[in-house]
């Protein structure tokens, strides 16, 4: 490969800017793993079936094995490494996958998490059926789907509770608790 075929790309991953030189044929999943050493994004089938390589690009979930790194030039990407707000806490989804045993071998997990992340952004109170459909593009070869669905359900609850504790329940904001009023 001649040097001249290398392309310079600038993009942000989990809020951090990167500038790398890549061959145009290098898949985005490989750029993330091999150039940036962000190996949380897993590569399963490499032809768009398994969903393990799902990342968020410019606010949309994509399969990073079905995009070239060069196509991510100027894009904003979020991978599983950027899911938790800091290195001490879990994201509610990670917390829920832990509590509900939503993983066995863990290979599909980062893709499941990123898909569920996007899904819960759009569906705050999903039904189990909607969750099943939401993760239908991700395969778990341990077949641990029941616990994954339960984990996504629990994550939605955790996220909603967090929001309530910050903003108060949607229907009770600006209303004094009756006990305090009576005293």
């Amino acid at each position: 490969m001649s040097q001249s075929n290398l392309r310079n790309i600038t993009f942000s991953v989990n809020g951090k800017g990167y500038n790398v030189q890549v061959e145009p044929r290098m898949l985005l999943s490989d750029v993330l793993r091999d150039e940036l050493r962000l190996t949380g994004t897993h590569v399963g089938c490499e032809h768009g079936i398994c969903g393990a390589c799902t990342v968020i690009m410019d606010g949309r979930p994509i399969r990073s094995c079905l995009a070239f790194g060069v196509q991510a030039d100027k894009a904003e990407i979020k991978t599983v490494e950027g899911l938790a707000e800091n290195s001490c806490d879990f994201h509610p989804l990670q917390q829920a996958f832990w509590e509900k045993h939503g993983l066995q071998c863990g290979f599909c997990t980062s893709g499941m998490l990123m898909t569920a992340y996007d899904f819960l952004e759009k569906n705050h109170n999903p039904t189990r059926e909607q969750i099943r459909e939401g993760i239908s593009g991700n395969l778990c070869r341990c077949t641990g789907y029941q616990n994954i669905v339960e984990a996504v359900e629990l994550a939605a609850e955790i996220i909603n509770k967090k929001k309530e504790s910050l903003e108060g329940p949607a229907d009770k904001r600006m209303v004094f608790p009756s006990a305090e009023v009576e005293v």
Binding site: R25, H47, G48, G51, R60, P61, I62, L66, G134, S136
Partner: protein, 293 residues
Amino acid sequence: MKPAVFEYHTPTELNEALDLLEEFGFDAKIMSGGQSLIPMMNMRLARPKVIIDINNISDLNYIRVNDSVVQIGGMTRHYQVEESEKISQVCPLLSEGMKLIGHSQIRSRGTIGGSVAHADPTAELPVMLATLGATITLASSDGLRTVTTDEFFITYMTTAMEMNEILVSVEIPLPPKRTGFAIDEFTLRKGDFGIVLAAAMVTLDEEGKISAATLCLGGVDGVPVVLEEVTEGLIGHFPDDELISECCNLIGEFIDPEPDVHASAEYRKDLSITYAKRVLLLASNRASISEVK
């Protein structure tokens, strides 16, 4: 599984892309969403020497609606059509059908032009366009030409596009009032390739009788199959379960599906009848309760 080496071009204007296509001819492949081409390149079923990536041609990404037609640019992504409020108002079949295409990850990248030009016989878009009587506009350095879906789809993965052409838009005529649509498909798992898919468009007259009906099947031939022989029996009648069943039972005489690992020819015929009934009935019901603009 990694793609073979290719020369990579990223034009930002249509003319630039067309010039590149003239220059490289058979060696070049246009890439839009890449959701079919990249898997083929990863598996090295496709090894194009030159990739002309049209993702940066923003002029090809649009949804325009006027009094008579919806025009969608070739680089418009599936999710943009799926989420478009305009489309859901004027052409609900598209909104409904988009949701059947692959998974959300695929719809984030996949494009209208790419899916239509790929011409997979089990793909949803070709069936929707054939149902809606859409046209397809192709650009080359000689200019533009517009073809019907009938002229465009030739056989499995084969279209009327010349080597120097790019699919720039599809145009869908707005349906008359009192028109209802439906699309449904049989898949083994949600988001899989369809085994058989069916779409219908039914228009009622002022009395509520069927004045026009279109039924289109996918997965039963190399191209979308519009079955006028089946729907002509509905014209002039009130929508009726038994009448629709009677007409759909004729379908087996007009299609000749190929058996494959997923389904035998007989099974595809049975599925076609079942799904055709379902979509024609639903489209009729929707026509009678809606005043489609």
